[in-house]
């Protein structure tokens, strides 16, 4: 699967919540897109990643 544009191997059974925890330490406001759709925070724990998934894990930055 791809996470933020990079091919990665992720352990079977990894959830969106697990991915977020591994990558966004310190960030309180995070959003995740999976295959072009928002993954609501309420489903992070129950959404298991699958082979071929394309994920974007996003955090706040400065912007105009």
């Amino acid at each position: 699967m791809r996470v933020n544009g990079t091919a990665v191997d992720v352990a079977d059974g990894t959830t969106v919540a697990g991915l977020v925890a591994a990558r966004t330490e310190g960030h309180g406001r995070v959003a995740v897109a999976r295959n072009g759709d928002v993954v609501p925070r309420s489903t992070w724990e129950t959404t298991t990643l699958a082979a071929g998934d394309v994920l974007e894990v996003l955090a706040p930055t400065a912007g105009g």
């Binding site: 933020n4 544009g5 406001r29 959003a31 072009g36 955090a59 400065a62 105009g64």
Partner: protein, 256 residues
């Protein structure tokens, strides 16, 4: 004197909206936000590896400002709608500064994609603040689509060229009932004052402050310029005249 700014059903004292893009340090951000007196600050989402230090949100939370997520960098309605939904998820707000650009050279809005995205987001319950060209007709279409505010550019983002077509901004102000926020192109305080004199309800700026030599001081200048322009607009400027009109009476002028 109270002069309340109503935006999407909320009220604010400040009519200056500050973008954080270009800020150089968290300490500068803190001092700049406070000096500006702003109550609304724009933010963006990026891949976590390229995002700001988590301290940025702590600074903004401490300042007590309302967050306005943007869709900067999006080039299609599809991208912008998804980015807005991600922003809603991350920042827990249905406010969005909708920005759909046509190319990276001018960063000018793509009118077709913009209107498409605005319609989709309004239907999805967002309060849409549409960054647009200074075209009064497009502004009206965006307002008719249900946007909470129309935000015309004065000139291209980050250009500092000021308001290139004041006439269009004034026409746009007359064309819609929703708030008009001058967004993009502000270079210095007089540009912000002009926006308010033209009837804009507020000014959104980032680079003019964040890239100034002294951001904190420029933030204060912008705050005062917005206030001065707003006061001047309300006070009613004198008409422009081709020839002079003496302010001191001629009657009683001695024969010397």
């Amino acid at each position: 004197m109270t002069d309340i700014f109503e935006l999407a059903g909320e009220t604010f004292d400040s009519r200056l909206v500050l973008g954080t893009g270009g800020i150089t340090s968290m300490e500068t951000l803190d001092r700049t936000v406070r000096a500006s007196g702003t109550q609304i600050v724009t933010v963006a989402l990026r891949r976590v590896e390229a995002s700001a230090d988590a301290a940025m949100m702590q600074v903004l939370d401490r300042c007590g400002v309302r967050l306005l997520p943007n869709t900067a960098g999006c080039r299609t309605a599809r991208e912008a709608v998804l980015t807005a939904r991600l922003g809603r998820e991350a920042f827990d707000t249905d406010w969005v500064k909708l920005e759909v650009i046509g190319d990276e050279h001018t960063l000018l809005p793509d009118a077709v994609e913009l209107l498409d995205a605005a319609e989709q987001l309004v239907a999805d319950g967002f309060r849409v603040f549409a960054y647009t060209t200074d075209d009064p007709i497009l502004g009206r279409r965006l307002a008719d689509a249900g946007c909470a505010a129309v935000m015309p550019l004065g000139s291209p983002i980050g250009s500092g060229l000021g308001i290139r077509n004041p006439h269009n901004i004034a026409l746009l102000r007359e064309a819609v009932r929703v708030p008009v926020v001058l967004d993009a192109g502000i270079g210095t305080a007089s540009d912000a004052a002009l926006a308010m004199e033209l009837g804009c309800d507020a000014v959104l700026l980032a680079s003019a402050v964040t890239r100034a030599r002294d951001p904190e001081r420029m933030a204060l200048a912008m705050r005062q310029a917005v206030e001065a322009g707003r006061l001047a607009r309300g006070a009613g400027r004198i008409p422009r005249r081709w020839h002079a009109e003496a302010s001191t009476q001629f009657e009683g002028l001695p024969d010397l």
